[in-house]
Symmetry: C2
Subunit: 333 residues, 2 copies
DNA sequence: CGTTAGTCTGCATCCGGTTGCAAAACCGAC
DNA sequence: GTCGGTTTTGCAACCGGATGCAGACTAACG
């Protein structure tokens, strides 16, 4: 039903090649021809079929956007930025929700069926193996928010999570807390492990500070709340906690409020991510911010570069996170 | 580079048609042939190219998912459900973020270039004209969370927003408030207008109750907070407010807390949407819930039906919203 | 065992575009 | 006007796969 190349060619009284060429830039077309074709095209309302052309060019301009995290509000920001940045470059995101089917092989298959030009895996909890499955299938892939490695097998863009952990540790030390805890995300997530490691390293430098750790079952409000409730019930709370994520912190905050504990007077909380919500005055959460806009910008640039240079050696681009001071830690003395 | 039909045909020593047929169900293939082809295919790791086949079948199984709302947390739930439901039916969502380019014509063009089989417009703020642009272009379209009309020009799935407004009104009346206010979303959004109308209708039945209304600039935390701050500064607050959205309510809540006002003792708040966050104990927000899972399920079913029956007469499917009682309204006496 | 009806299979063409190649048109210089 | 060199143009083949059609094959029946 839609207008095709041939329709335009007939109308303009020229060959289909001529029409095709006026729509591919860099092709040799005379000014006269271009005008003839363009008027015919606009009279007919013609727009080239991207999928058909992909058959010969090998480019669909489709980018698979894969994620398994559709509950953490930070991901709304992530999707917003990714879709816009991709659109700006004339690419279209093909969304894949992995909550249902976390099987790498079928995921790769599915996206390959649509001949995506590249894939962005946006997740801090998926294992690196997952991204590797795409690379092995010959699909350019960037792992955003993924785990940093000195010998990366796929492109990784994100923050140095263990450095973030150290930063959180330093901040709590600086504030003079004498007992601190880590309330991490799911223990299996690589991001949790890394932040945990960094945090521990930093605390190990201060043997005078009591240090404990515990993991929530999930990066979610409920998990944060439940875990903090457990800690409260068990008694001997630390003076401050580093929570592996802002929603986790917010869950913890709710448990503390229920227990009649005041933040930051009775207990300090520092979160992670600096999601939009963290600055809401109801929470006013001190947290460690990831530069998500930069991460996403870099991810898109990387995937775009890989379209022309698929064999490019895997690269790691890490951005510094930064401490965002608000109201859930005791003031510096 | 990827394996093609021809490769499989060569390997199996059969014609390409045979291979094609074993991969299209309903086609006539003998058992022997099927086995021969399937082994060859799996040895080679062949998966049919969905885009190439779309050329002849006219089906891409691509569904455009269009939205302009990437800030309201409810949309994370919406995207999650849409992507899953679509995936379950073998469809792939092609995401389009309209924050950048709210121009209907180019949006239609862009999606047509990818020959999407259908489009779901998920927005309560886009004008109905927007969805109509797709219909006019011959693309099946469903407007989810859209405006209800007795003579729909496109399929609409959602709630009856004016009935929701009435429900909120009834609830506040029932609780014995003698002065109430509406703190709506952006005045231009159809959803705001409808909820406003319903709410006003209900209040009109009770002339003894003082009633006022005001609109926030946006369905966002900041807008809700700012608007409530304005109301507080102006003096003579109503005893309870119906906020056009949960984040708006949460913004309002933060302004009230700052002003030292207690909810629900000093003032009542009822929100709208029942997003995940509403039940977080920090907020414990009484609200009117939209059955988003049902809405999305119905939207997907509708779009699937339209694939086979594109000329199907526009239909409206409305689901009842329901009052979710939590802690931000005074108890019934 | 010969027929006949029904089932499979391969050929060829087409879907909407792209592109290498060679012929045609153009251009300026002589 | 002719010539040589550039552009521009159309032809035809191809991208990966679907499908109508006719011939080949199979099975059932008399």
């Amino acid at each position: 039903m839609p207008v095709t190349l041939k329709d335009v060619a007939n109308r303009a009284g020229v060959s289909t090649s001529a029409v095709s060429r006026t729509f591919t830039d860099g092709a040799s077309v005379s000014e006269k021809m271009r005008i003839k074709v363009e008027t015919a095209a606009s009279e007919l309302g013609y727009a080239p079929n991207a999928l058909a052309s992909s058959l010969t060019t090998g480019r669909t301009k489709l980018i698979g956007l894969v994620s398994n995290n559709f509950h953490n509000p930070i991901f709304l920001e992530v999707f917003d930025l990714f879709t816009r940045k991709l659109q700006d470059r004339g690419l279209r995101p093909l969304l894949m929700n992995l909550s249902g089917e976390p099987d790498a092989v079928t995921a790769v298959r599915r996206l390959q069926q649509y001949s995506v030009d590249g894939v962005i895996v946006a997740s801090s909890t998926l294992s690196p193996e997952f991204s590797k499955a795409f690379r092995d299938a010959g699909v350019p892939v960037v792992n955003s928010f993924g785990r940093f490695s000195t010998e990366p097998e796929v492109h990784v863009v994100g923050v140095d999570n263990s450095e973030c952990g150290r930063m959180a540790g330093r901040e709590l030390v600086r504030r003079g807390y004498t007992s601190v805890g880590l309330l991490g995300g799911p223990e299996t997530a690589t991001s949790t492990q890394d932040r945990f490691r960094g945090f521990s390293q930093e605390l190990a430098k201060h043997p005078e500070i009591t240090y404990s750790h515990t993991f929530a079952s999930d990066y979610s409000f409920d998990a944060g709340r439940a875990e903090m409730q457990r800690l409260i019930a068990r008694g001997n709370l630390a003076e401050a906690y580093f929570c592996g994520d802002d929603v986790l912190s917010i869950g913890a905050l709710s448990a503390l409020a229920d227990a009649g504990l005041n933040v930051p007077d009775d207990i300090g909380i520092i979160g992670f991510n600096d999601m939009e919500m963290a600055r809401w005055q109801n929470f006013n959460l001190s947290t460690i911010g990831q530069p998500i806009a930069q991460i996403i910008q870099a991810s898109v640039e990387l995937i775009v570069d890989m379209l022309d240079e698929p064999e490019r050696a895997p690269e790691v681009r890490l951005f510094p996170c930064k401490m965002v001071e608000r109201g859930t830690l005791r003031p510096l003395q």
